[in-house]
């Protein structure tokens, strides 16, 4: 388990991280969310030792993250970077060796990871000769080649076409199933909601929302009830309810209900107003929770 405990970092007058605290666990995908400049990249760089936090501790499996521990981390930075004139296989092998993998094992690992990300046919080509999507795959192969226990990916889905997104999502899912802890940042909230079990939202260097998606949704104040009538409902039926309809026309009403509110009251009022086509209780989407969290 990865534990981020009270991590703070100041650059000059900018408080980039302000007491960040959250955990990420094996076999689960954790999405790191936040507006631009919220501190996501700084947080990831702290994990990889590229930035030294001013305060706080990072722990992996209960022990402080040291240089030796970091050798078991894989990292894909937001600013993609490879040696343009170096062939794919040679490059992946080089990074395996830099991570301390012995020569023979590095060659085997290189072949395996190139196969896994689907680059076998271009293994001997120079990186600069590859398409953007394939360069992204090389970057991922470099992050994976030493079989890391923790995978830290900064915006891994940025710039991928829908097929590429699906492939990468499947790969991350299978890596987690094999036991890896995966932490990645993204602005694509629907994707994160679809893929991740856990989310962490950062804003102005602070963690404003962290936990499993299910628990966050269950605990949210913003749950919705959608009511759709088969015909026009009795006018003013909503007046007797204390909830605000957030959207709606005459046949459709959406209401925000709190966790302590009684749904039976709403249902009875709706049934009394006319024949129902649909009566739906919905948790908030990740996007809604995100917007609410960063607007606080």
């Amino acid at each position: 388990m990865l534990e981020i405990d009270g991590v703070s970092k100041t650059f000059g007058t900018l408080r980039a991280l302000d007491g960040c605290r959250f955990t990420a666990v094996p076999k689960r995908l954790t999405g790191l969310l936040g507006p631009n400049g919220a501190g996501k990249t700084t947080l990831m760089r702290c994990l990889l030792g590229l930035v030294n936090p001013d305060e706080g501790t990072l722990r992996w499996r209960g022990a402080p993250v040291s240089e030796a521990v970091r050798r078991r981390f894989g990292y894909m930075p937001e600013e993609r970077g490879l040696y343009p004139a170096m062939p794919v296989a040679e490059q992946v092998d080089y990074f395996a060796r830099l991570s301390g993998v012995p020569r023979g094992a590095a060659q085997a690992a290189t072949r395996a990871v190139i196969d896994r990300v689907g680059l076998t046919s271009v293994a001997d080509r120079k990186v600069e000769q590859l398409s953007h999507g394939n360069q992204q795959r090389v970057q991922l192969a470099v992050a994976l080649v030493h079989n890391p226990e923790l995978l830290v990916l900064d915006e891994p889905f940025a710039g991928l076409d829908p097929v590429g997104v699906d492939t990468l999502a499947g790969l991350l899912r299978s890596l987690a199933d094999e036991g890896a802890t995966v932490l990645f940042s993204s602005h694509q909230l629907d994707l994160v909601q679809h893929l991740c079990q856990d989310v962490v939202t950062v804003d102005h260097g602070r963690v404003v929302l962290a936990g499993s998606l299910e628990a966050l949704q269950a605990g949210s104040d913003r749950r919705y009830v959608d009511v759709v009538f088969a015909g026009p409902p009795t006018p003013g039926w909503l007046d007797c309810l204390p909830y605000v309809a957030v959207t709606g026309d005459d046949r459709h009403a959406r209401m925000v209900v709190g966790p302590e509110d009684d749904l039976d009251v709403v249902l009875r009022a709706a049934q009394a107003a006319g024949p129902l086509l649909r009566f739906d209780f919905q948790p908030p989407t990740l996007e809604e929770m995100f917007r609410e969290a960063i607007s606080r």
Partner: protein
């Protein structure tokens, strides 16, 4: 091998092999090898290239004239082949045919059209010796008396400020110093472009997630340095083999120890300057900024280079001694001093010690700059900013 060392070695190997495979390196190596070979062969051939003159001499070998011509030519350093002919007509025929440049008969020198300015005094002197011999006989002098009469005076030579002939040493010291300066710039530029390329291609962040900045810089300096030393050794071996084959006449003594001094100062100077190059290169985000970032270094190197040129005239001046001890200028000043004058062992030792200390200091300072600057993107970073950047 421990993990940090093995990472340095992995980095060094990549930098070495990438550079060694590059077209630029192969071409420059070929050019340098060719220059060394031609630089030794051409002067040797040119210096040796004095023509051998064939001179027809009337008379057999037991007569005085032929051996006298040969002896006079040898004394004057003119290569002459003496061809004995039986009479004047045979000599004239050889000169007319162009087989001989001149013919010498008793009391006469025969030229085809004009006397050769180098050869004429030699032949005249030979005839004069014959004439002197004949007059001595007329006067009744014994050969011993004649010998003492014409014996050279052998005057005592007094040199008010004696100094050995430093011509050849000056050339070697100068060539060594220039080669060293070129090599320092060449390999320093490799380190510089290596650092800037890694920064501009952003691969540096991927690297630094695995290794420390100091390891990255050390690996780069080591790999490119080994390449440079390898190239230097190849040049030295080719140079030595060429010297053995063509055997130049006036190879000065002390050339080989001097090559050793040049190699020593290449290693020290390269280590020192390449770390500075790497650290300053990390301030630039793009190749275009690299020149600006290393401008202060170029200025220091120019001082070291032109200062060394000025030092050729007065290698014993106090400021030359100071320059040969001061680490940034020592790599060019010290080999020059070693070639031109006597350098006390303690000064050589002190210079190496100071340089070693400077390198250690530069590793600390350069490593800090590199660490502060290498992850900074978007324009050139100022020295002061990088120094105070704490990641």
């Amino acid at each position: 091998m421990s993990a940090p060392l093995s990472a340095i070695w992995v980095i060094a190997r990549r930098d070495l092999s990438t550079r060694a495979r590059s077209k630029a390196f192969r071409i420059s190596s070929a050019v340098m090898l060719a220059s060394v070979i031609l630089g030794i062969v051409i002067p040797t051939v040119v210096l040796r290239g004095t023509t051998t003159y064939t001179v027809a001499v009337v008379g057999a070998a037991d007569e005085p004239l032929p051996p006298l011509v040969a002896a006079q030519a040898k004394a004057a350093g003119v290569m002459v082949t003496v061809r004995e002919v039986s009479d004047r007509a045979a000599g004239v025929a050889l000169v007319d045919a162009g087989t001989a440049i001149a013919a010498v008969a008793p009391g006469e020198v025969i030229w085809k059209n004009a006397p050769n300015t180098r050869l004429a005094p030699v032949l005249d002197a030979a005839l004069a010796r014959v004439a002197i011999g004949q007059r001595a006989q007329t006067l009744g002098l014994t050969p011993a008396q004649l010998g003492s009469l014409v014996a050279p005076a052998a005057p005592t030579v007094t040199r008010l400020h004696p100094a050995p002939d430093k011509g050849p040493q000056t050339v070697i010291a100068l060539v060594g110093m220039i080669l060293l300066f070129v090599a320092l710039n060449f390999y320093g530029a490799y380190v510089l472009t290596g650092v800037v390329e890694e920064k501009s291609s952003r691969v540096v962040e991927v690297l630094l997630a695995r290794v420390r900045p100091a390891q990255l810089l050390a690996g780069k300096v080591l790999g490119i340095g080994l390449l440079g030393i390898g190239q230097f050794l190849a040049l030295a071996v080719v140079g030595a083999v060429t010297l053995r084959i063509v055997k130049p006449a006036n190879l000065p003594a002390g050339a080989v120890p001097l090559i050793g001094v040049v190699v020593l100062w290449f290693v020290l100077g390269y280590t020192f300057y390449s770390i500075v190059y790497g650290a300053l290169g990390s301030l630039a985000s793009r190749t275009e900024d690299a020149q600006t970032a290393t401008a202060p270094l170029s200025a220091v190197m120019a001082v070291a280079y032109f200062g060394a040129f000025t030092a050729i005239g007065k290698p014993d001046a106090w400021w030359v001694t100071a320059g040969s001890l001061f680490p940034p200028t020592a790599p060019t000043f010290m080999p020059l001093r070693a070639g031109l004058t006597h350098v006390p062992a303690w000064q050589m030792g002190l210079a190496v010690l100071l340089m070693a200390l400077a390198i250690i200091g530069m590793v600390q300072a350069g490593g800090r700059l590199y660490r502060g600057a290498v992850l900074h993107t978007g324009g050139r970073l100022r020295l002061r900013q990088a120094w105070h950047q704490t990641h």
